[in-house]
Symmetry: D2
Subunit: 352 residues, 4 copies
Amino acid sequence: MIRAGIIGATGYAGGELVRILTGHKDVEIRWYGSRSYIDRKYYQVYQNMFRIVEDICKDDNLAQLAEQVDVIFTATPQGFLAGLLTEEILQKVKIVDLSADYRIKDVAVYEEWYKIEHKSPQFIREAVYGLCEINRDKISDNTRLIANPGCYTTCSILTAYPLVKEGLIDMDTLIVDAKSGTSGAGRGAKVPNLYCEVNENIKAYGVASHRHTPEIEEQLGYAAGRQLTINFTPHLVPMNRGILVTEYARLKTAAEGKLPAYEEIKAVYDKYYAGEKFVRVLDKGVCPETKWVEGSNYVDVNFVIDERTGRIIMMGALDNLVKGAAGQAVQNMNLLFGLPESEGLELVPCFP
Amino acid sequence: MIRAGIIGATGYAGGELVRILTGHKDVEIRWYGSRSYIDRKYYQVYQNMFRIVEDICKDDNLAQLAEQVDVIFTATPQGFLAGLLTEEILQKVKIVDLSADYRIKDVAVYEEWYKIEHKSPQFIREAVYGLCEINRDKISDNTRLIANPGCYTTCSILTAYPLVKEGLIDMDTLIVDAKSGTSGAGRGAKVPNLYCEVNENIKAYGVASHRHTPEIEEQLGYAAGRQLTINFTPHLVPMNRGILVTEYARLKTAAEGKLPAYEEIKAVYDKYYAGEKFVRVLDKGVCPETKWVEGSNYVDVNFVIDERTGRIIMMGALDNLVKGAAGQAVQNMNLLFGLPESEGLELVPCFP
Amino acid sequence: MIRAGIIGATGYAGGELVRILTGHKDVEIRWYGSRSYIDRKYYQVYQNMFRIVEDICKDDNLAQLAEQVDVIFTATPQGFLAGLLTEEILQKVKIVDLSADYRIKDVAVYEEWYKIEHKSPQFIREAVYGLCEINRDKISDNTRLIANPGCYTTCSILTAYPLVKEGLIDMDTLIVDAKSGTSGAGRGAKVPNLYCEVNENIKAYGVASHRHTPEIEEQLGYAAGRQLTINFTPHLVPMNRGILVTEYARLKTAAEGKLPAYEEIKAVYDKYYAGEKFVRVLDKGVCPETKWVEGSNYVDVNFVIDERTGRIIMMGALDNLVKGAAGQAVQNMNLLFGLPESEGLELVPCFP
Amino acid sequence: MIRAGIIGATGYAGGELVRILTGHKDVEIRWYGSRSYIDRKYYQVYQNMFRIVEDICKDDNLAQLAEQVDVIFTATPQGFLAGLLTEEILQKVKIVDLSADYRIKDVAVYEEWYKIEHKSPQFIREAVYGLCEINRDKISDNTRLIANPGCYTTCSILTAYPLVKEGLIDMDTLIVDAKSGTSGAGRGAKVPNLYCEVNENIKAYGVASHRHTPEIEEQLGYAAGRQLTINFTPHLVPMNRGILVTEYARLKTAAEGKLPAYEEIKAVYDKYYAGEKFVRVLDKGVCPETKWVEGSNYVDVNFVIDERTGRIIMMGALDNLVKGAAGQAVQNMNLLFGLPESEGLELVPCFP
């Protein structure tokens, strides 16, 4: 039995970790960390867990926790883990960090976009960027620290990855227009996240400045074999869960006036994803919808070739709290401990 | 392995049966019946099942199906099963009927409220009303036909049952004010169920005439030991899933000017539900919310004693597609086949 | 031109006052009071008012404001106005108070339900309870202080009033089950009002303890000619605007085994409301829906007689921010200044 | 008094025409055309109009209607008006057509995208494309036929128009990612528009094939002075009203490694829109939100210059039923009859 601790267990991503780990046969949650609700029953914060979880919330004590568990999930604000992590801790416990602290290899880029000083850059190199479908071979039982990818990032990267890796699109033309449900904004009590402000409304935010931009650029840059600069625009959608990305790029052969056939592009997607349990390349003509992946660890992707403009429109959908956060974190944990990658993640999407 | 067939597999309740049975380790779905989508891949109707279900939809052939499976779930319009059921079929297969055809013991009452003639009243007596928490001892491996309770009914009955059974409330004063998500209206393409008609709106409907009224009256009448007449008012709420009932009744002792203490009433609820996995009596002061049971087979109940009026306000919440339909149907199937009652139903509610 | 000041102009009710008064040809808003946003442009708080309102938000200075305007609207927390109001102020300016401070005539009842001491009980007697359809003859140009009714209260009272006044229902059996959109909870940044907590969810709250209860009891008590005790249960519905009430009461003649005909009850409603612009008694069989009154000052009401139980089910719908708050406040202002009662309130409901 | 007839009065755009014209002091609606609801009271279809509109719905008789009114609004399916329009009718009455029949000047393009034969191409040349802010000088009292622009089109064009007209962006790089509320899909009873299918969901549709594409291309082509080919991707958002567009284009000077300052671009927007009542260029850093224009005729626009990619991100928001349909139709009617352009359109956006 893997003993797990969660720091930040009462945020939305933390709550989803609890939901998923509760159904994972090889894991036992030993620590529900929550600075805001110390000593309260966990189910009093999330009544859906009434009669399922009896534990109380504890303080966020990383060092103490490292003694008691095999793996720690940190679903905490940026800078939290970086400020506390030590070599001593990492010698005792594996960590899956759902924050951005170790995602970006260039500490200067991190500090510029996040506007905070990185307190433990010495661990950045070691951290594995836990986008399992791409980096699973970098995760072994020696791995100590996983930087769990961002929600937008996971969706944006997986949607375009095969075409980027195969060099089929002009990376200077890549535009990612993303739409997210409101749970992505977290459980903080802020006016812009009130029901009446979000409901019956849609807006862009963080235009040309959202922090997931450099993360997408770095990871797609590895696939492309060069540095990238892209446009990424997130939007807030009146729904609880789900991210949809619509990505635009010019097909390289368009310059020569010819475009690949649907089947050629489909074959490229299949080359990378046919064996992937959690990436579903939809049938021709079917556009991904967030509702079809809700509650599950799936990413649904598809594409349309536009003969008129020479562009390809790629689309991807996932549940931001599952594949975009807690589900992928558990997938990483499975890899860390040599379990089947989908253990505890056989979640059938819930419709309607 | 239990072989199951579903007739009406592409309605919302049918879809939920597929979702739940897909995760049930002892069941294999052999027949996805859907008159509207014959020969189409099931996942083309519900893309959430892409790469999970590969079967095609078949016609609704009850007799043929009876030869091939161990249990048939009928998630069909009223009158469908009653029009087709025969002794021959029942000798071959067990049936869990999600329609109202065999719920009401008095065929005249059925025909009056449903405005259709009952074509096979000879099976009404045999059918067990499958409200598991109350009738599980009537279900054995000899049982052939289960009348799976209605969604409003399940919630309305379980919320009041202990007090009715113990004779604590004046049954002539019972009023059930119910609120339901829109999936309860089914997947038929009708203007009143369009997004723009339901969204940002709430209304009562079927006032003093909703068909679940006699079903509640009959079942609570058994508990009360006499015939009942109640008020039941359903409302349509802009959300996909969930039923909340708010029930009002005068406490009998109010006539003598004294009311039971909170603890007394709590003890009555605990007497009936402390051992029930799927009924959660919430802590004092906590009102049930539909979101806390979403996707699960739980019913959350609680109550408030109003010292001023001598009434008790009882509240209950469930997911209309799970405990209100497919989940309870699977719970009944488990009883029919001697499986643990919660097999395949260990669904953790999804929040947010 | 009537000069108006608004204290609490950046709450939802305050915002709605701005929207309505902006379209009122006889009113000019001179003061946008908002403690939270002092010195910011009003439109920066509510961008819908960009290029419509250029003013900045000012502090909540009641005494200073009284010098500069003809009428003050206070859309402020309970206790605010009671703590500041003086005879001197009332000699200079008329006040329409959207809080509860002067609604309840018995100061002990107010203090018990609101858990605050009333600082200026000397003005309670003078204040007119501004439910215009019932009390308009109490409002003249001598009236100085209007206690604008609560949102739930307006809907609850107007829905039952004719039957109460005519003595047709047994007042000891009256139960009000109310459902409200989320704007009723105000614009405060609290976790329970976050999008993800309200969306896809319904719950009761304030069961047997909501503060609008004594207000309904008092006003319906005047109509009934005696003190009343009722049950009132509010519910939070995932929508921005709208209140629906479903009210249950036993018809008095039911005791004698006979019920009034539909036409008799309809005639009673028409007696009180046929001449009322803002109360619409719907056609037989049509249930009120909140969407049909959205953005307008209408209250839609209707009823169903249940032959089986001897009860009448009364239903009413209004927009909580208009007839339930700002619209009714403007209606009261019109009465105070001798304007046509519907001036500035000819708002056509917006659908969908 | 202008006598108006509406054909297609019971669709959502037709209903919005009724709402707006009801408040227009110079217009009287004489004909509520609705094939589906002939002889029913209009308010029985839209109960929000109870006690406001007493008329009954009539058949769609264009010729008869032309005799009785001064202006006809056709809110009808594509091909309807083209199939009925004659010179005789146009000699009697002015027509504002909300369908696409006369929007596209090249009949071959129309027939290719709409897959129907155009039955009266002889009137295409005469029709004025009624995007008032751009074409108002083409509308006079001699104008007989207005092609009222599409909802997506209005938003897409107005958001980019100043930059296109001034030649600041590379038109071959223009991408329009659009998001619409569900009322844009109309009131037809179809499964994909049911509440449970749309709610908690977002998807793209009509990718690289939506019919508003050639309309945008044609109109922006006039501004650019050459033929254009763009990408336009609509998305369905779970809300009733509102369109948001996010548009991406490369700034021409980026090729030379320098970008215009914010103020330069702002000045360009102001050049075109400072005098426009219904186009609001928001303050720096404020992103348009659909909720801020709901119920009004405003279009809110803004932009962000991305120094990193050399692109400009333009954003625009409108209410698809008002500025995207009925409001703009009334704006055109005002121009046709020499009324102030904003007559009847002083609608303050409703928030929340």
